[in-house]
Each structure stands twice: as C-alpha cells, then as structure tokens.
C-alpha cells in the first residue's frame, strides 16, 4: 500500500476509535496531532526555507516593510554568536518595556480597579518568567493587573518569548541539517507573520465565539437570583488565551488559569487548547525530518515522544480515576467516586465538572510535556501519583517540549546517545553526518546537567530553611513536592504550579526568577553554539560502519539514555515526595 493511503487509513481508524466511550478523546487527539504534524511541519519548513506558501502574497510585502522600518537591510545569514546576541538584546529590551508598564501601572490608563504598580521583586520574577516563555505567576491576574498591563506587558511578552523559542529552534535545526543558521530578525518576522498571526486571529475569534470575553471592561457587578452581589472579573481574555496556548506560554489571565470558565468555557475549547499547546512542538519534529531529508528519522522521534506522552497520560489518568482512597470508607453515607453514566467519578477535588477526569489529565499531560504550564485543574490537588506525572514530564522536558526548546532537548540526548554507543563499539561518534568531538559533548553535557542542578540545589536549600518552608500549604511529603514542583517548573520554563505554595515572597521571587533565567538561556546558548560548531564541519557520507540513528534499535537506546541520564537523577527526590505520599495515602495517613 502506498504510504499516503496508509496515513489516511490510520487517521480514519483513529477517528473511528474516537467514538469509544470515555477514552475516545485520546484517539481523536492522536489523529489531530498527526494531521497537525504532517501539514504544520511542511508549512513551517516552507516558511523558514523561503519557499512559497499560501500566505506568501499577503505577507511578503509586510515582511520587507517591517524589516525596513527596523533598519534591517541585509538578510545574510548570521553566525551563532550574532544570532544569540540579537535574540538576547530583543529579549532584554522587550523585558524592559514591560517592566516599565508593570511598575507604572497605577498611573496608566485602563485601570478602573486602581491596581498599584508591581513591587520590584515580584516584577523581576514576572519579567523573567514571561520573557522566557515560562509564565510562572506569583500573583493573581484578576487581583493584580489592569487590562492595560495584561495586553501591553503580558500578551506582548508571551508573543516575544514564544517566537524567540521558535527562532532558536529553527536556527539549531538548520545547523544540524547543514544549512546556514539564518538571520534572526528575518526569522522573527516570518515566525510572527506566517506562523503566529493567522492562528492568533482565528483562534481568538473561535474562543470568543465559545464564550471567552474580549472587552476593555474590567469588572461587572450583577445581582444573582438569590439576591447576592457577584463581582465578575473580565477583560481582553481571548487574545491572551490564544497566545498563551499556542506559544506554550501558559500564564493565565485569571488566577485559576484555564480552569476559569471564562478562560476555558467547555469541552471543545478544552480540546482545542490542548491541541494548540502541542501544535508547534509536534510540527517541528516533522520540519526537522524534512530538512534532514530523512522523514523516517522525524517520525521515529515523533513516535518516541508520543509514546512517552501516552505513558504519562495513562498512568496519571488511572490514578485520578481511582480517586482519593482516603474517602473510600466514609460512614454512614459513603462518598461515591466511581465512574458511572451519571458522573465522571474519580478525584474531583480541584477539577471542573465540564472536563471530568480524562480531559483534565490530557490537559495536565500536554501542559507539562510542552512547556506551557497552563492548568485546567489544580495540580496541587491531584492524587500523589497523578501529581508525579506533571513533575516527571517537566523533569524530562522533552516530550514535544516548549515551542522550539523541546525538540532541541530531545536532539541533545541524541548527541549523548550517539556518544555513548560510539564509546561502546569503539567508533568516532557521528550524528546526522557530522562528527561529534570534544566541544559538542562538553556543551551538550553542560546543557543537560544544568537542569537537575538548578532544580535540586534550590529545592534542597528551600527544604532546609525557614524562608522556604514557611510558604508551603501542605505538610508531610506533599510539602516537599510543592517546593520540588516550583523549581522543576521554573527550570523547565513551564510555569505551572502546585499552587498552594505561597511563592510571592522575596526568597521565592528571586530564586525562582534566577532558576528561570539559567534554565532558559544557558541551554539556548549552548545549543546555538553546538549548531554553530557542527555547521563548520564537513558532512561525512554514510558508510557501512555508520551508526544509523533512524532505526527502532537506536531510538530505543536514545529513549533509554533519556530515562537513565535525564530521569534517574530525580528518582530520590520523587521517592521522598509523591511516592512516599502515595504510600501514606494508601495507609490512610494524613498530615
């Protein structure tokens, strides 16, 4: 059977399986993911190699106008140092603009609630967090920010952070596939016009049509049926929501993020939000395969990522559906957690009825597999193993991953895997036709080791000190999980939280801000350097002794290296946190 027909057949089967009760949505999700990967991957590849796309006639004139207005005349490829410099400069400048708006908020217009400017350390934390695509929030949106700040500072930084990630990944992929790195500003404008703008406009309007507000009013007071006054906060939510999801940013308009009915009104918006998080990360895997002229390699990586994704999701869902075993023996009237045609059952603490268990966990897995960090349920209230799943995803930080950085993380482990297998069989390691030598291995090791370092060290400090412990909301192993989750989320540039932790303290604002910066820029710079260094080497034609990286065998080794190197470091911490708590819960111990 031709490959094309096989693809459509698989899609039809997945779609049909979508009608299965309860689990159907998972098959539908895989089908949609496949479609996005195939078409989105080709589209991104075309956009960034300057080929004609459907939108070229519309956007090409705009692209040159934007570049000319900014005073950019040449579009020759930069080297990795120039590329990195331009990226850092734009990030710093945009961060400074936003800092101005956040601190002057009290004196700026569109602030009917008279919110004051942010305090310096909270602002430091917020700027670090939003410009790096993390979107950790130590504040509550509807209680702290005016509509002006939500638009000019936050929506803006989300856009910059996401596009920056995409640009770095595109440059890295070009380096890996033997192309010139490219021109930062040109890539940036193209990413904005061709990739982000169409999705943002259509997506925002879709969300508004489903009930997400988009208004400059900040609050409405209504009188409920029983006569009580209800203050309803709203604002330009849809425009922020769309970039939040599509750019894998995750910082919510409201404190409850995508659990708020205005930020996620129904099951359909929930599904679309999940797909938006994964769209670019999934598509980039195929872009990579196309540029490498080795589609099989792309699909192998995609398959491995999807497998890791479904594994996380499956484990989490099972434990959530079983529910909180504490409530299994309540007398005289039992509490019913069983799945039935009348209820979704399971652990409904911190979850919304309209999402139930399975779509909630699909969201949780997607938001932590990618670096989004939006939540549609409260991760702090997940069952212990249910809460281990998001932690695990963020510790790996490469199951599709954030816009751009996820695939780079996966390829980084590819370099290590090639190196290790090279050592085992006594050959010079090569990846994608490029010899790997000392500088690449040192840079890759640095980028990998920094991740556990900036998670575990601050966690240990916080867990031993009053300033760390005074902020936790839950005692026992769960308290440790709260701290561990905070730094994992910061290092992975995720931004979701075990939100019981009161992180708006000087210690957490500063330490988390620093972890976020290290987590983002050290690995980005190391990866650009690797790309630059690989680009300088001549391509070696594959011979009979070349290690094939696109085989099932090698992908297995690859995932094995990810699990051993990437995950084993964290097992002791996980044993003290979620695993200890699960055992305590089964024994009926409370803290």
């Amino acid at each position: 059977m031709p490959k094309k027909n096989a693809f459509w057949l698989v899609l039809i089967i997945l779609f049909a399986l979508g009608f299965l009760p309860h689990w159907g949505i998972v098959f539908l999700f895989i089908a949609a993911g496949l479609l996005i990967t195939v078409f989105g991957g080709r589209y991104i590849a075309n956009v960034f190699s300057g080929q004609r796309t459907l939108l070229t006639p519309l956007f090409q004139p705009l692209e040159s106008v934007f570049l000319r207005v900014s005073g950019i005349t040449d579009s020759n490829s930069m080297n990795w140092i120039q590329y990195g410099q331009a990226l850092l400069l734009v990030n710093i400048l945009c961060g400074l603009f936003s800092a101005m708006i956040l601190s002057l908020q009290g004196d700026l217009p569109l602030n009917p609630m008279h919110f004051q400017g942010m305090s310096p350390w909270l602002m430091f934390n917020t700027i670090c967090s939003f410009i790096t695509n993390t979107n950790w929030q130590s504040y509550s949106g509807e209680q702290t920010l005016s509509n002006l700040s939500q638009m000019l500072a936050l929506t803006f930084m989300m856009l910059i952070g996401a596009i920056s990630g995409l640009c770095v990944c595109i440059a890295f992929l070009r380096g890996m596939t033997n192309k010139a790195l490219g021109h930062f500003y040109q890539d940036f404008v193209r990413a904005f016009l061709y990739v982000f703008l169409p999705v943002l406009v259509i997506g925002s309007l879709f969300f508004v049509s489903q009930g997400v507000p988009q208004t400059l009013h900040q609050q409405v007071t209504v009188t409920t049926i029983e006569g009580a006054k209800q203050q309803i906060a709203m604002g330009p939510v849809a425009s922020l929501l769309t970039i939040k999801q599509f750019g894998t940013n995750g910082g919510g308009f409201f404190n409850a993020n995508s659990a708020h009915p205005y930020e996620n009104p129904n099951a359909m918006t929930n599904f679309i939000e999940i797909l938006m998080e994964l769209a670019i990360p999934m598509a980039l895997v195929r872009t990579f395969g196309l540029w490498l002229a080795d589609k099989k390699q792309g699909w192998m990586i995609w398959g491995a990522m999807m497998l890791l994704f479904l594994l996380s999701f499956g484990v989490g869902t099972c434990f959530e559906q079983i529910g909180n075993t504490m409530f299994n023996h309540v007398h005289p009237v039992p509490i019913d957690q069983a799945l039935s045609p009348l209820q979704s059952g399971g652990n409904m603490e911190g979850k919304e009825i309209r999402f139930g268990i399975i779509p909630s966990l699909l969201f949780t897995t997607a938001t932590t597999a990618t670096s989004t960090g939006a939540v549609n349920n409260m991760h702090d209230s997940l069952t212990p193993i249910g809460g281990l799943v998001p932690l695990w995803n963020m510790m790996l930080n490469l199951i599709f991953g954030g816009v751009g950085v996820g695939l780079m993380g996966f390829l980084l482990y590819g370099i290590i895997a090639v190196f290790i297998t090279g050592l085992m069989v006594g050959r010079t390691p090569e990846i994608f036709g490029k010899k790997l030598e000392k500088p690449e291995i040192i840079l890759a090791s640095l980028a990998i080791l920094i991740h556990p370092l900036i998670i575990l060290v601050p966690t240990a400090i916080a867990a031993m000190s009053h300033m760390g412990l005074s902020a936790i909301n839950n005692l026992g192993p769960h308290g440790l999980s709260e701290i561990l989750y905070a730094y994992t989320s910061a290092a992975a540039n995720n931004g979701s939280a075990f939100a019981g932790l009161n992180a708006n303290t000087t210690w957490y604002n500063i330490s988390i801000g620093i972890v976020i910066l290290l987590g983002r820029y050290i690995s980005i710079i190391a990866l650009l350097a690797i790309a630059g260094s690989l680009l300088g080497k001549t391509k070696v034609e594959p011979g009979p002794g070349t290690l094939q990286t696109n085989t099932l065998l090698f992908i297995t080794v690859w995932v094995g290296v990810i699990l051993v190197v990437g995950a084993l470091t964290f097992v002791p911490a996980l044993a003290l946190g979620p695993i200890a708590e699960q055992l305590a819960m089964m024994a009926g111990n409370t803290f």
Partner: protein, 201 residues
C-alpha cells in the same frame, strides 16, 4: 543595538497594542454577547449573571452548586490547593458530606463532586448524580413531585458525552432558572405536556 531597539518597538506596537486591540474590536463587532462575558438578564432587564460563571445558591428550593474556595466570588478565582493527604482536605470533605446528608436525608450516597471544591471556585455545573440526589429536596421545597423535577433536569442537562466531549452534568444556574420558569408558566397551564414527552422514565 539600535536595530534591536527599533525592532522591539515595532513588535511592541504590533503584538502588544495592535493585536489585542484589533481582536477586541473584531470580537465586539462579530460576537458582542460572548465578548462581554455572556451576561444574561432577567425578564425585568436586570443582569443576573452568566451561565458560564457559577453562582452560590443556598435556599432549599434551588439546586446547590459545588463547594467553592471563594464562595463564587468571580473576581478572585482559585481552588483550595489542599494535597490529597492533607488533614485540611479530609476535614473539609467530611464536613461537606455531613452537610449534604443533612440537606438531602434520602441520599444513599454522596457524589464526589458534591463535597469537593472545583479548581476555579466558579464551576457552573454539577454532575447528574448530584442533581438527581438533590431533586427530592428541591421537589419537596417547591411542592412539585420528584418526576417533574427530574424531567426538568433531563431537559436542562448537557448533551450526552460523544467522543469524550461533555461530561454527564447540568448547569446549576440554568437548571434553577428553568425550575422558576416552569413554576411561573405551569400556573398558566403551560409546558407540562412538553415535560411528559421528554423521555422521562
């Protein structure tokens, strides 16, 4: 440096100002109802809330929503964030269960959603299991029979789950409004025939 500055200003104008304001303008023209929060008014024109945002009900003749961290204050969303082994959680859930049982003495079991708080504190829905348990109390308080109230639930509930979309649930505000409508209308001999044909068992 100068280039980066000009470029950042340009992106600021496009992404920070033009994008959100443009979307606001478009939404206000194309979907004015949704863009302003899907607010609904009573018959006398007063704004009474939004079907999307849950509101508190405590009178026995109304269906009650789930417990809420913020008591349905829609200017301060959020959940309790109590961990699964937290003493606070266990105490709260058992207390809620006791209360639920007092309000609905006929209940043979307490649905999980009736005693746990939602993530936003603004959950507009309850599970069907929860609604059916409360139906008896509501019917009693309104002087209706159980079957009528259950029929109104069935008319109001969200469509059956297909492909994992929709959970078995009903919107509390909509349900309570439908109850009120039914009683004002049935005084005029209206709607009762509709109810009999609504697939009620």
């Amino acid at each position: 440096m100068w280039t980066a500055f000009r470029f950042s200003i340009l992106m600021f104008l496009l992404g920070g100002i033009l994008y959100p304001l443009g979307i606001t303008l478009l939404s206000q023209i194309v979907f004015p109802y949704q863009a302003n929060g899907s607010l609904i008014s009573s018959n006398d024109g007063k704004v009474i809330g939004s079907y999307l945002i849950g509101q508190g009900f405590s009178r026995p003749d109304y269906f009650h929503p789930r417990p809420s961290f913020n008591h349905y204050d829609a200017s301060n969303s959020g959940g309790f964030n109590d961990g699964p082994t937290s003493k606070k959680l266990v105490k709260r859930v058992l207390l809620e269960a006791k209360q639920y049982q007092l309000e609905n003495p006929m209940a043979k079991m307490v649905p999980m959603d009736a005693v746990t708080a939602s993530a936003s504190g603004l959950d507009p829905d309850i599970s069907l299991a929860n609604a059916y348990v409360q139906a008896h109390r509501v019917a009693l308080a309104r002087g209706l029979d159980d079957t009528t109230v259950k029929a109104i639930i069935n008319q109001t509930k969200h469509p059956k789950p297909v492909m994992g979309f929709n959970e078995p649930s009903v919107n509390v505000l909509r349900l309570n409004r439908n109850l009120d409508h039914y009683q004002t209308n049935s005084a005029k001999g209206f709607l009762s025939s509709d109810l009999k044909s609504s697939g009620l068992k």
